[in-house]
């Protein structure tokens, strides 16, 4: 993770990431038809997050970027998680406590 000037992945890295993304897509597709109960969406989203991370790290060069850029993205992801989790803590818990 050296902050070298113009550090970029080699073509081999690009092709490997591409291969991983294709495998991830095929896996998402096949696994969706197997009944794993509540695990189905968990697996689908885990693969999606892995794929997104690969794209961000290598295609978008974050692995090779400065700390400022890395923190910027971390802030974005953190804010998105606030949006989703805080909204869901409201909607998922409505009606649990009966009004007096």
């Amino acid at each position: 993770m050296a902050e070298e000037k113009h550090a970029h992945p080699t073509h081999k890295v690009y092709y490997l990431v591409f291969l991983a993304l294709v495998i991830g897509t095929v896996l998402t597709w096949r696994v969706a038809f197997i009944d794993l109960g509540p695990l189905n969406p968990v697996i689908a989203l885990t693969i999606a997050c892995t794929k997104a991370t690969l794209v961000i790290l290598f295609f978008m060069h974050i692995w090779y970027s400065s700390t400022l850029t890395k923190i910027t993205i971390a802030a974005g992801v953190f804010w998105l998680l606030i949006l989703i989790t805080l909204s869901l803590t409201d909607y998922l818990t409505r009606g649990i406590i009966k009004p007096l």
Partner: protein
């Protein structure tokens, strides 16, 4: 590697006066692009959050809606978009090496794959149009589904199943329940069209961006010192790819196991 004779003058011609070095300028540009992408994340994020809330609330209806979409097209489109991300990454790499022709070739390949994606999306939208699954107007006239060969009338089935289930309790409740699940499925399709539509709009903007980029690569002295337009357009294109990476499982694969 030989480019134009203007290599290493006092400073690079692309360096604007408020920056000390090309390195600093590139850092500022990348930062700016990412801040823009964060606003994009929040825009799509709002849709994803709303989608999740309704999916939990109206799960059966969302499964019915999701199952009625042809998963093969969605799968093929995911591969097409991943392929376009690879060609975009290779375009950036070529631009960084100063290989103008290579960069243009990969940009054109990216545009072709992007157009294929939009074409397939068009086929999918047409199927939904034929099936009366576009929200509003004649949504849910499910008898029309059987006129379209190869498509299972899943929503009609789901409505009938729900009706049968509640019919045992009371006939009025059955009428009510079947209406309700049809309404809820319509909400699923509102999300489907809003999310894939906004994504497709980003793809169209991306294609316009690529056209502009082809001209830029031709005009500018692209090389290791300066390839920012290609790099930042690449970031945009990969972002749109990431949105689709989430849309595919969330919209097409809610529950395909038929195990209900």
């Amino acid at each position: 590697m030989s480019h134009s004779p203007t290599t290493i003058p006092e400073h690079h011609p692309a360096l604007v006066h408020q920056f000390d070095s090309m390195e600093q300028q590139r850092e500022a540009s990348t930062f700016g692009m990412w801040v823009f992408l964060l606003t994009e994340i929040m825009m799509f994020g709002g849709l994803f959050a709303a989608y999740l809330i309704y999916r939990i609330k109206y799960y059966d209806a969302f499964v019915a809606g999701s199952t009625s979409i042809d998963v093969t097209w969605g799968f093929v489109n995911t591969l097409v978009l991943i392929g376009s991300s690879l060609t975009m990454a290779l375009a950036v790499s070529a631009a960084q090496r100063g290989a103008r022709r290579g960069a243009q070739l990969f940009i054109v390949l990216t545009m072709i794959l992007g157009t294929v994606f939009l074409g397939i999306k068009g086929i999918e939208y047409h199927q939904k149009y034929v099936e009366h699954h576009i929200p509003g107007g004649i949504f849910g006239r499910f008898d029309a589904v059987s006129n379209y060969p190869g498509q299972e009338p899943n929503i009609a089935e789901e409505v009938a199943k729900e009706k049968e289930r509640v019919e045992k309790l009371s006939p009025e409740a059955a009428e009510q329940a079947s209406k309700q699940i049809a309404k809820q499925t319509e909400i699923f399709f509102c999300f489907y069209f809003a999310m894939t539509g906004l994504h497709a709009l980003h793809m169209i903007i991306g294609l316009i961006l690529m056209t502009w980029l082809l001209v830029q690569v031709q005009r500018l002295n692209i090389g290791p010192e300066y390839y920012t337009p290609v790099e930042l357009s690449g970031l945009y294109w990969h972002f749109v790819d990431i949105v689709w990476i989430y849309l595919f499982p969330l919209l097409y694969l809610i529950n395909r196991t038929h195990a209900k």
